[in-house]
């Protein structure tokens, strides 16, 4: 799967309150890519990631998924792309506190109607080294473990691309490195496309391609 952002701009607010979070960005991502989007807070990097992830539509420009223009897509079609082809990892993990690690990973599979989900979810948790914590609730896990559950959840429906928004932002250096190494290994071994948003240059430099964003523009 290939996602192309072509001269994409995104504005928030209206009239005098309107501001452009992203201006004229052209960038692509596909399987096997490892891209870091780097920039200070408020530079527009998360906005770019959200448009990549079909969570948002641009104000101007085009977004194409496998050459199909998504501006014509319905909510259902956008949801299906997110569900089947894109995995999300967030800085605050965003796990459901009332569900076990296994149930959190199972959730996207249930949405996709995957059969035998439990075995696959357990395998995904095994991949991130949490085979022994299937029945643990998020509150019983460390930050690094929770982020690994989030990665397993992102991998649940075997996506083509994983979009990670500051995935190491809430972790200490050593744990953050582990998480990053995991994403790199998945990119290398499974040809998974990885797009990381970060303000940390050290993290950004691990990527094959770096995109610098400043004041909404790619510099």
């Amino acid at each position: 799967m290939k996602i192309d952002l072509l001269n994409v701009s995104k504005a928030y607010g209206q009239g005098e309150a309107q501001f452009w979070a992203l201006k004229d960005a052209t960038v692509s991502a596909t399987e096997g890519d490892f891209i870091s989007i780097v920039g200070p807070s408020g530079s527009g990097k998360s906005t770019m990631l959200h448009i990549f992830g079909c969570l948002d539509k641009p104000t101007e420009g085009e977004v194409r998924v496998d050459d199909q223009l998504i501006s014509t897509f319905s909510d259902q079609q956008m949801s299906r792309i997110r569900r089947d082809h894109i995995g999300f990892v967030f800085q605050q993990y965003y796990l459901n506190a009332s569900m076990t690690a296994l149930q959190n990973v199972l959730l996207p599979m249930q949405l996709a109607g995957v059969k035998g989900g439990k075995e696959k979810a357990a395998a995904a948790l095994e991949t991130v080294g949490l085979g022994g914590k299937l029945r643990s609730y998020p509150a019983q896990l460390s930050g690094g473990e929770q982020q690994r559950v989030a990665i397993a959840r992102a991998l649940a429906n075997a996506p083509s691309i994983v979009l990670a928004d500051e995935p190491t932002g809430s972790l200490d250096t050593a744990t953050g490195k582990n998480v990053l190494d995991m994403l790199m290994a998945l990119n290398r071994e499974r040809n998974l496309g990885v797009v990381i948003v970060t303000h940390d240059e050290t993290v950004a430099q691990k990527a094959k391609h770096m995109i610098h964003v400043l004041d909404g523009r790619i510099s």
């Binding site: 959200h50 949801s79 569900r83 999300f88 965003y94 459901n96 009332s98 149930q103 959730l107 949405l111």
Partner: protein
Amino acid sequence: MSWIIFANARKRKVRVAMTVGGIAIGVATLFALLSLSAGIENALDREISGMGAHILLLPEGCPYELTLALMQGSDAFEHIPAELLPDIRAVDNVALAVPVVVGKAKVNGQLSSVYGTTQEILQVRQWGIDALEGAVIGSDVAEKLGLAVGDIVTISLYTSVELPITHVLDRTYGRDDTFVFVALSVAQQVLGLADRLSAVLIRTEVVTESTRTQYTLARMSDIQAVPPSDIFERLMELFASIKQTLILITGIAIVAGVMTTMNTMTMAVFERKKEIGILRALGSTKFNVFKLFVTESLLLSLVGGVVGLIAGYVATLFLPKTSGFGLEATPQFSPIYVVICLIVAILVGVASSLYPAMSAARTQPIKTLREL
């Protein structure tokens, strides 16, 4: 999807319990109301048809109050002069005229209903005994006072008499179970109602001619003649209007329940914005989110419905058995009431979840994620 709902419910136990409780109260009230109403209707039917009369002769006054007093075994303080009895018996088509006098008196020190009548009562009541001698007592009286055949019972009000118990009637599940039957003259003497009657039960020779006979009897002074079926219909009409009012009140309580559940669900949507945002990011469609909230509400309502049915059933068993008409009414349980209550619970679930579910479905994942 159900495990997602159960996982969320586990996290919000108090809120879930309150929602289920609110629906359960409404359903329990409705179930109890329906069961008790049916029980009262049955009791009225049983008592009036159980009189065994084609025509009921009553003193002047409100026929419904007088009939209820007669069924309850209370003196209505309005009476028919006993001297009219030969004239009544002489009316064409009257096969049987059974004089009755009722009132409360102390039976072995405890207040009970005394029913004075003649041997003719045995032709209209199916008691399976040969003669009304001494005191014939209902099964409840026997149980309450610990009496058996052969015991001597003391009945007193204006005067006191001692009578042997000759029969304990089989249980009829009607008011007869609560009466002490004695000879007319004995009851008149004890109750201070000499030469007076509470009512006369009339059986006609030709039932199809009963209306004509009723008009003839009604022309006699100091009495009114009414067919028990008319009394039954009017009492049922009266009861129907009471029932309608109660159903309306229950309906208002259920609407209040809908509003409360809607409020709970709306608050739940606000509280779960993060969860909804993540669900949407993971690929959940607007319809998936809508379905999740409606299903959750439906499940809670169904659980509330079942809990309400059980609570309503138990409550009717413990509620006083005496209805507003002073009749002993056994609640009537019917599968149709269960179905009605569950349908009401489902409607409550759907009605209360539509707005919150639509609001949840409208949640923009990007907006939520930005706010997190």
